[in-house]
């Protein structure tokens, strides 16, 4: 009681000194509130974002890794570029795209929540039907007309390669149209995202090999096709092999045949035009591929390579994960399962998500630095103030101990004084910090986002791109050619939707942390006070005073 009364009396008596001490503690508490609020909100936003994120991953061949491996293995051939090229082709041939069976086997893992897969082949239009293409439209009349239902026949189609000819890309023949067979609705990401939608007719049955198909409204209008019509397509490598499907629906695709999001789009084959995409079920596609294999013929080209007319689908498999931890664990499982290291599991979702967090993480890092600086400076100021306070009052210490107040009790009085002042300042600081944290956090975050965007825009402008934004750039599920390249020139960087809002309002966790910081400051200041007070000898103090 003696200690409390004396402490309160002393606080009331020394208003200036205690107000100064209180202001320092209040500033530290308010700054700590803001910094911790930002960090807490950033963590929360990150966690919430991850919880809402559907994490998908694809396995692809890392050609750079193959090349590096090859270069490290063969030193003698390094000086001969021709021999090196042959070696690289031979090396790449050892690592074919994964088959659907392999993907399904990997998808059996407990870490995988699901597998979305699709297969794509390239076929030629036949008869009067032409692929949507400004370049090939005049040549299309010369195309060979095929006949017969559900059977292969006829000749080569037209398209980018011109009539009577066909392109070979990555060992596969390129036709006018891309036929994609989907294994599930989830794999049809363009439809899931709303970029594509049925505008006439009905969706195909994805589980049935019923020869039904969807074509784009643009393609249908270009060729005068309607729901219910039959569409006959031909193997570009063997024009006599044709396949006919029934159009059950027309769909619109946001991707135009001539323009992309940021201007004209260059394509090196009409089959890559979004308008020339034909959608079937995966069983239908598999039936076509099987039939093609049964009827395949092989020839030997001028280089001595064996060329088959069999259609070889490009399989796009996308694994779905419940969490980033599952994604990482699956990576390890793949290695353990013997998948060569040159195959990589990558996630565009996670990469984009990581990129979207850059401003937030910068802000969080800034907040942490601010917190440490404020705590350090605040602690030093408080300790110095306490020590000066006690030095100034050492006569009082001498008198109190001379009349019998024990030194620990005197020290306790100083601790109580610091504690009461700091506690009051802490409460006020919490209030100030709570009020300031949300708007300050939003302001600082928007600054960070603007900074990142300006940096990205400057980078894009360096590459001659006006806005630096490319909202396209689809991933798995779309029309894919070998190697995972999408049907347009890839942008150097995709537009990132930065996380630009956080809720930095205080909750109990932050209040607890600030209270702990306040307690820490009180302990530091008290320790300084106690050490300082205990080292004074009353007789010496009083003798000096005399």
């Amino acid at each position: 009681m003696f200690v409390i009364i004396n402490a309160l009396t002393s606080i009331a008596r020394s208003k200036g000194r205690n107000i100064l001490m209180g202001l320092v503690v209040m500033a530290v508490a308010a700054a700590a509130c803001v910094a911790l609020g930002i960090r807490h909100a950033a963590r929360q936003a990150e966690t919430d974002g991850l919880a809402q994120l559907t994490i998908t991953g694809t396995i692809s061949l890392d050609r750079q890794a193959v090349m590096s491996q090859l270069q490290s293995d063969t030193t003698t051939e390094a000086s001969d570029p021709g021999a090196m090229g042959d070696s690289l082709r031979a090396a790449l041939a050892q690592y074919p795209d994964l088959t659907l069976d392999q993907l399904l086997a990997y998808a059996d893992s407990d870490r995988v929540a699901g597998l979305r897969y699709s297969g794509s082949i390239s076929l030629d239009a036949t008869g009067d039907v032409q692929a949507v293409s400004t370049e090939s439209s005049t040549e299309a009349a010369d195309q060979t007309v095929t006949t017969g239902m559900d059977q292969w026949g006829g000749g080569f189609g037209g398209g980018a390669g011109g009539p009577g000819d066909f392109q070979v890309f990555d060992g596969r023949s390129l036709g006018d149209l891309t036929v994609t067979g989907y294994g599930s609705q989830e794999a049809m990401t363009e439809f899931v995202s709303g970029a594509s939608q049925i505008v006439d007719g009905a969706m195909i049955d994805l589980a049935a090999a019923d020869d039904d198909c969807l074509v784009t409204d643009e393609f249908a209008a270009f060729n005068g096709l309607a729901v219910g019509d039959a569409l006959t397509l031909a193997n570009p490598a063997a024009a006599d092999q044709t396949y006919t499907c029934d159009i059950t629906g027309l769909y619109s695709n946001q991707g135009s045949s001539t323009t992309g999001g940021s201007g004209p789009v260059l394509r090196f084959a009409t089959a890559q035009d979004p308008a020339n995409q034909v959608i079937v079920s995966y069983p239908t596609l598999r039936a076509v591929v099987t039939l093609s294999g049964d009827q395949a013929t092989t020839t030997t080209d001028a280089n001595g390579n064996t060329v088959s007319t069999a259609l070889s689908p490009t399989i796009a498999g996308t694994f779905v994960f419940a969490s980033p931890a599952d994604f990482e664990a699956f990576q390890q499982e793949l290695t353990a399962a013997g998948l060569p290291a040159v195959y990589q599991l990558t996630s565009t979702d996670l990469n984009n998500y990581e990129a979207s967090l850059v401003p937030l993480r910068n802000l969080s890092s800034f907040a942490a630095t601010l917190l440490w600086i404020v705590l350090g400076v605040g602690a030093v100021i408080i300790v110095v103030l306490t020590i000066f306070n006690i030095r100034e009052r050492k006569y009082e210490i001498g008198v109190l101990t001379a009349v019998g107040v024990a030194k620990p009790k005197v020290a306790l009085q100083f601790v109580a004084e610091v504690g009461v002042v700091a506690l009051l300042a802490l409460i006020v600081g919490l209030g100030v910090g709570a009020a300031a944290a949300p708007p300050l956090a939003d302001h600082l975050l928007s600054d960070q986002v603007a900074q990142q965007q300006a940096q990205q825009t400057a980078q894009e402008q360096s590459f001659g791109r006006p806005g630096g934004s490319d909202p396209g750039g689809g991933n798995a599920g779309g029309p894919v050619l070998s190697g995972g390249t999408v049907g347009r020139w890839p942008s150097a960087s995709q537009a990132v939707a930065y996380l630009d809002q956080i809720n930095a309002s205080l909750d109990l966790a932050v209040v607890g942390q600030v209270a702990a910081i306040g307690l820490g400051l009180i302990v530091v200041a008290s320790a300084a006070g106690v050490v300082s007070a205990l080292r004074y000898d009353p007789l010496t103090i009083l003798a000096n005073r005399s």
Partner: protein
Amino acid sequence: MSLISLHAVGYSYDGATEVLRDLDWSFEPGRFHAIVGRSGAGKTTVLSLLAGLATPTSGMIEFDGHDLARMDRYRYRRRDVGVVFQSFNLLPHLTARENVELTLRASGKPIRDKRRAASQRLAQVGLNQELADRRVLKLSGGEQQRVAIARALAADPRVILADEPTGNLDLATQEDIIDLLAASAQEGKCVIVVTHSPEVAQCADQVHRLHAPRLKPTSRRAKRQAPSAPQPER
């Protein structure tokens, strides 16, 4: 029966400078003791030892039959001894009453209305309500001395120690202060005053003469019998 006794007490600063040697004194309750000696003889040091503010480097001080070195000396100073310092050692930012009240609170004695008790002590030493509410810096030297005495008496200790309580005071105030201390001795307290004033020494029941480095106590009776001023023994 002595209340405080010194047995072969010696004291040296830093273990080298000897100030006191072999003091064998005893102080009885109900008596007014004076310790006299020249400046630098160690009078204030003896007072500090008696107050428990310093520890003898040799010998022993007994209080009420207990070795003072083994006692809780904070408690001893809070409850058993009241000290009037030469420079008063009052807290300047407090009023006269607050200074006295502080000692009362520190003593831990069960006094319900400490404010009133402090006022009564101040009135006892001749300070009225108005003076009691003044900050001690605004009081005269004599008034501050009275406050110091009131503070020493506040917790009703058994021993009163006073260091030069009449220094720098006018004659009338000196007499008042001496009367106050003498009255306390008559109430049964053991009053020990360090002084170089012959007038104060003359009023003491017993005078302890200090002459560095060694001295012996002399009684007032012995002093009266002496043909001239007493000389410290060597």
